[in-house]
């Protein structure tokens, strides 16, 4: 176990009303088992949805059927309760299977903003993908890491290396760089860093650090997990919203 791994206190898996939460839970449970760390489930009851459902004209358009149907606050509340219970059971089963400590909490808030308020430094936050999930299990796919040369990025690299070693996956390091020479310089550093470790990896040049570019690179390289470091305060909730919406895999936020 690396030093970075030993420092992690919790792996927080975020449950939203997304069908891809199972993917996030699997990734989070595996992370918690490998670190090891406490596995904390966080179910977000979206306040905006509850308010919307309480409005007199509230309607919902089916995601698949495109049928318009009325929706009421009690529908949303009931759905939240059911989802929270399902999430708790799934978390319990996953934790029992991997023999990790766990806890579960349902909170009311607005999306990732609520998550950021509730997570602490040294937590790994695992968020379910919003995009189309790849059919193959994440374990068989490479691990993507966003790397910008910052200290937080190196921490993310250490966490990524530890996870890749445990799962046998390769690393795909996404390097945002304005030009080729900057990318080459970062790559040299990374190659030297990887040379002393038992993981294989490759560097991918991103011309900008946008959610769209990152999501595209993750898709193109079939990554099973994206490690994203962010020490900004406050965090850009919209960026995360776009990121989560476009990713085909779980997002691991390294704080």
């Amino acid at each position: 176990m690396s030093a970075a791994g030993a420092m992690r206190r919790r792996v927080v898996v975020v449950f939203e009303s997304s069908p891809a939460s199972e993917t996030a839970l699997a990734a989070a449970a595996a992370l918690a088992a490998r670190l090891p760390a406490h596995l904390a489930g966080l179910f977000i009851e979206d306040v905006n949805l509850m308010r919307m459902a309480a409005l007199p004209f509230a309607h919902e358009l089916g995601r698949v059927s495109a049928m318009l149907r009325p929706i009421q606050a009690r529908d949303i509340e009931r759905e939240f309760r059911l989802q929270a219970e399902r999430a708790r059971r799934a978390l319990e089963a996953a934790a029992a299977g991997l023999q990790v400590d766990w806890s579960f909490e349902a909170v009311r808030g607005t999306g990732l903003k609520a998550v950021f308020e509730l997570t602490r430094e040294l937590d790994l936050v695992v968020v379910a993908p919003g995009g189309q999930v790849a059919a193959r299990p994440a374990a068989a796919r490479p691990l993507a890491i966003l790397f910008d040369g910052s200290e937080a990025a190196w921490q993310a690299m250490e966490t990524g290396q530890m996870l890749a070693e445990a799962s046998g996956a390769a690393l795909v390091v996404l390097v945002p760089a304005a030009d080729r020479s900057a990318f080459d310089a970062a790559r040299s550093e990374l190659v030297a860093w990887l040379a002393g470790r038992r993981v294989s990896g490759r560097c991918v040049w991103l011309r900008e650090r946008s959610a769209a570019q990152v999501c595209r690179a993750v898709r193109e390289h079939h990554a099973g997990l994206l490690l994203w470091h962010d020490s900004a305060s406050p965090r850009d909730a919209q960026l995360y919203a776009r990121l989560v919406a476009g990713l085909p895999c779980a997002l691991v936020l390294v704080t």
Partner: protein, 811 residues
């Protein structure tokens, strides 16, 4: 007039046995002889077999009939094995999956030796694809192209949602994702307004919000429909990509395989179908890889059984036509079967579980079956006929046909049948099938009828010696010396019941040789000699001699009354043969006759109590006809006679006692005593001629044993038909006694000769007027018959007078 009998000479001792002269056998022992590879004296059967094998037309299958133990099976097998390989070796057959209709597996014909190769090639193909296809899906090229397709889709639909979200935001409305879809709501400071705040809004604002949301909903509906279309498009693109990449992975292998099986169109078609199925189900190979690496604990690993080749029949390239013997011709053993395996509590099957039957294995060659076994197995005979007449082997589950099983079964493609079927059986089976099954003559047009006996010629003796050599080697017996072989040949003639024939019962000869081998080994000899064969014959006789001993003892103790000396009127020793299993023995039977006035009937007591068979009754009626024709042709036949087989309690059949019965009758009529030191056998016709009978050796030996046990007097003997002289192969002790003049065998041609021997009185020949000399047997019988006739006429006249008087009194 001479009333003494003519001196009919007994047969010389040399006539009682035809020896096989060892000097005529040009070898020291059988180890010097070559194996016999031909049929002895079975020219007719051999020609029939050659004909059946040579003719290639439908229905010319073969029925081999003949006595049991004649070695028909081994002879036919050897004969078939010796047939020159004049045609292409039969090909291989395999069943493969029918990808269009798995319920109907496809039969593939391949050149000899290629089916196993195809099976191996397909296994190797699957092994290679299990690596190649997942590797292809892991390749950078595939990932890049699949990622591109996925990214394009995501970008396009996300862009649509983002633009819609932005448009909504301008109108102070948020696009929200609900658990099952999307919704719109007015926002303030980035958060959805509460119902209270909404209620406080002016009506114009509420109307605006409602209008905006309605418009946005319509746009969202359009976007969702577009996303569905895009998703479908994306799936198609991915599918097409998978096809292209899989085709690349599988195509090279398929090209190699097709080159290897060039010219085999159906194999090519199968390979094409496999290729298409692999392309359509490429994901299975990926899942199999993941299952192998433990990635799919909850799911069953995909199976690739559908790509296997089930080799049904395979042959070597240098082998001739197969000769298959089916010892247990059940329906399934004959036409093959579809097996099932349990899976999740039910029975399932596939083409890999199709098993061949004897018809498959013999295809292109010969199938040998015992007819009786075949017809006694349910459905087998019908199945065989169906296969022959349709020239197809069709595997059908009986359970399914008769609705006994409701599980899924298969209907494998029928395989063309090109086999010659050889049935073995007794003649009775052949004639019964011929008479009662109209299909039989159409399907088995050739009968090879094995002789029960073969001519005993020097050539056949030599061949027989080689047969002995072959059997000795085949059974691991010691070699047989020349004398021993001669003794075996003599025994074979004895089994044939004819000194000029050899028995075709090879099994009995083999058993005798095994016996002789034992005695030779026990005596520490490396070769079996004539003494060992003699010992074996005697041992065999003793082993199955219990019943004969019991009867013999009963005679000697006087329980069964048989005289072997003295004279008696109307009493003669007949001879009968009892067959118990494969052992036959003879024994004397006392036959008595009584005569009196009557209406011309000879009463056969055996028939009256239903203990006489039809042939026996016929013999007795012939006697009546003989007596009437010879002695009563001018006057009414006024004799009543009774004939009895004394102390017999079972069925008496056959007419071999008719000579003895006639002699007893003549003795009774002539009141001429019969010498009880003789026994008689022979049938007689109504002219008084003596005809051949069966079992002459056993009969003579049966009476000899009784006389010998009581002490041979020199006056004892057996009277046999002259027509049976050639059948004589008597035991050595009988011949020795005959040679020493202590026991005689007489051969007669007429009842007159027999009765002269028995009574010592001349039979008498008629003069020109038809009258017999008065003191002769015939003269005395004629006188008695006249006397009875006169008496009957007198009685008839007296009765007629009484009747007239009665009539007149009444009148």
């Amino acid at each position: 007039m001479n009333i003494e009998s003519k001196n009919l000479a007994p047969l010389p001792a040399d006539a009682l046995y035809r020896r096989c002269d060892p000097a005529g056998l040009a070898f020291e022992d059988t180890s010097k002889l070559e194996d016999l590879t031909q049929l002895i004296g079975q020219d007719r059967a051999g020609a029939a077999m050659e004909f059946a094998i040579g003719i290639g037309r439908d229905g010319f299958n073969l029925f081999v009939m003949g006595p049991p133990g004649s070695g028909k099976h081994s002879l036919v097998q050897d004969f078939l094995a010796r047939q020159p390989v004049g045609r292409e070796p039969p090909g291989d057959w395999a069943y493969v999956n029918n990808f269009a209709d798995p319920h109907k597996p496809i039969a593939l014909a391949l050149p000899a030796g290629r089916a196993a190769a195809l099976k191996h090639d397909m296994q190797q193909l699957v092994d290679e694809l299990r690596t190649a296809i997942p590797a292809m899906f892991e390749s950078d090229e595939y990932r890049a192209r699949a990622g591109q397709i996925e990214a394009d889709f995501t970008e396009r639909h996300e862009r649509a949602f983002t633009e819609l979200g932005a448009e909504a935001e301008k109108e102070k409305v948020a696009l929200l994702r609900t658990p099952a879809g999307f919704s719109f709501a007015p926002v303030k400071d980035g958060e959805v307004i509460s119902p209270e705040d909404y209620a406080a809004l002016p009506d114009e604002e509420k109307e605006r919000i409602a209008r905006v949301i309605k418009a946005l909903q319509q746009k969202l509906e359009g976007i969702i429909r577009e996303v569905m279309r895009l998703r479908k498009e994306q799936r198609e693109q991915l599918k097409q990509l998978n096809r292209e990449m899989t085709l690349f992975a599988v195509g090279t292998h398929m090209t190699d395989l097709k080159e290897r099986y060039a010219g085999l169109e159906r194999v090519h078609a199968f390979l094409d179908a496999v290729q298409q199925d692999v392309i359509d189900n490429a994901e299975d190979f990926v899942r199999a890889r993941e299952a192998q690496s433990g990635g799919m604990p909850q799911q069953e690993a995909p199976s690739f059984r559908r790509y296997q080749v089930n080799v049904l029949v395979e042959h070597g390239t240098d082998s001739g036509p197969p000769v298959v013997v089916e010892e247990h011709p059940t329906y399934q053993n004959l036409v093959g079967r579809v097996e099932h395996i349990p899976q999740y509590g039910t029975l399932v099957t596939d083409f890999n579980l199709v098993k061949p039957g004897a018809l498959h294995r013999s295809n292109g060659g010969y199938l040998l079956i015992d007819a009786l076994k075949l017809v006694t197995q349910p459905f087998s005979w019908e199945a065989l006929k169906r296969a022959i007449s349709t020239r197809q082997i069709r595997i059908e589950s009986l359970g399914e046909v008769y609705g006994l099983m409701s599980t899924v079964s298969l209907a494998p493609e029928p395989i063309p049948l090109e086999a010659k079927v050889v049935l073995f059986g007794d003649r009775l089976v052949y004639y019964l099938l011929h008479a009662y099954d109209p299909d039989f003559p159409k399907l088995f047009k050739v009968a090879a009828d094995f002789e029960d006996r073969i001519d005993r010629t020097p050539e056949h003796d030599a061949l027989f010696a080689r047969l002995v050599a072959t059997m000795a080697r085949g059974r691991g017996l010691v070699p047989f010396e020349r004398d021993a072989v001669a003794r075996v040949i003599e025994h074979s003639a004895r089994l044939a019941g004819d000194a000029k024939k050899l028995s075709a019962n090879i099994r009995a000869i083999g058993d005798l040789m095994s016996d002789a081998d034992l005695w030779a080994r026990q005596a520490g000899r490396a070769r079996a000699g004539a003494a060992d064969v003699e010992h074996a014959i005697e041992a065999q006789r003793k082993r199955s001699d219990r019943m004969r001993s019991v009867m013999h003892e009963a005679i000697l103790r006087g329980t069964v009354l048989i005289d072997s000396g003295g004279e008696q009127v109307g009493q003669v020793n007949g001879l009968s043969v009892l067959q118990l299993g494969d052992h036959a023995f003879g024994a004397p039977t006392r036959i008595t006759a009584t005569t009196r006035l009557g209406d011309g009937r000879v009463i056969d007591v055996q028939r009256e109590v239903e203990l006489g068979g039809a042939i026996h009754s016929k013999g007795v009626l012939i006697l009546s006809a003989f007596l009437a024709a010879r002695f009563s042709f001018k006057r009414p036949h006024s004799l009543a006679a009774s004939l009895v087989f004394e102390q017999t309690y079972g069925l008496v059949e056959g007419d071999s006692a008719s000579l003895a019965e006639l002699c007893a009758l003549l003795s009774s009529l002539a009141e001429a005593p019969i010498k009880q030191s003789y026994a008689v056998t022979g049938s007689v016709n109504q002219l008084g001629e003596v005809q051949a009978i069966g079992g002459v050796n056993e009969k003579i030996e049966g009476f000899f044993d009784v006389c010998n046990a009581r002490g041979l007097t020199g006056g004892q003997g057996v009277i046999i038909p002259a027509a049976n002289i050639d059948d004589l192969m008597l035991r050595a002790d009988v011949i020795a006694a005959a040679r020493a003049g202590r026991f005689q065998v007489y051969a007669v041609t007429s009842v007159d000769e027999a009765v002269e021997l028995l009574t010592g009185v001349a039979a008498g020949a008629p003069d020109a007027s038809g009258a017999y000399p008065p003191q002769t047997i015939n003269g005395r019988v004629a006188a008695r018959m006249r006397e009875l006739s006169v008496l009957r006429q007198k009685l008839g006249a007296r009765d007629a007078g009484r009747n007239d008087r009665r009539v007149r009194r009444r009148g």
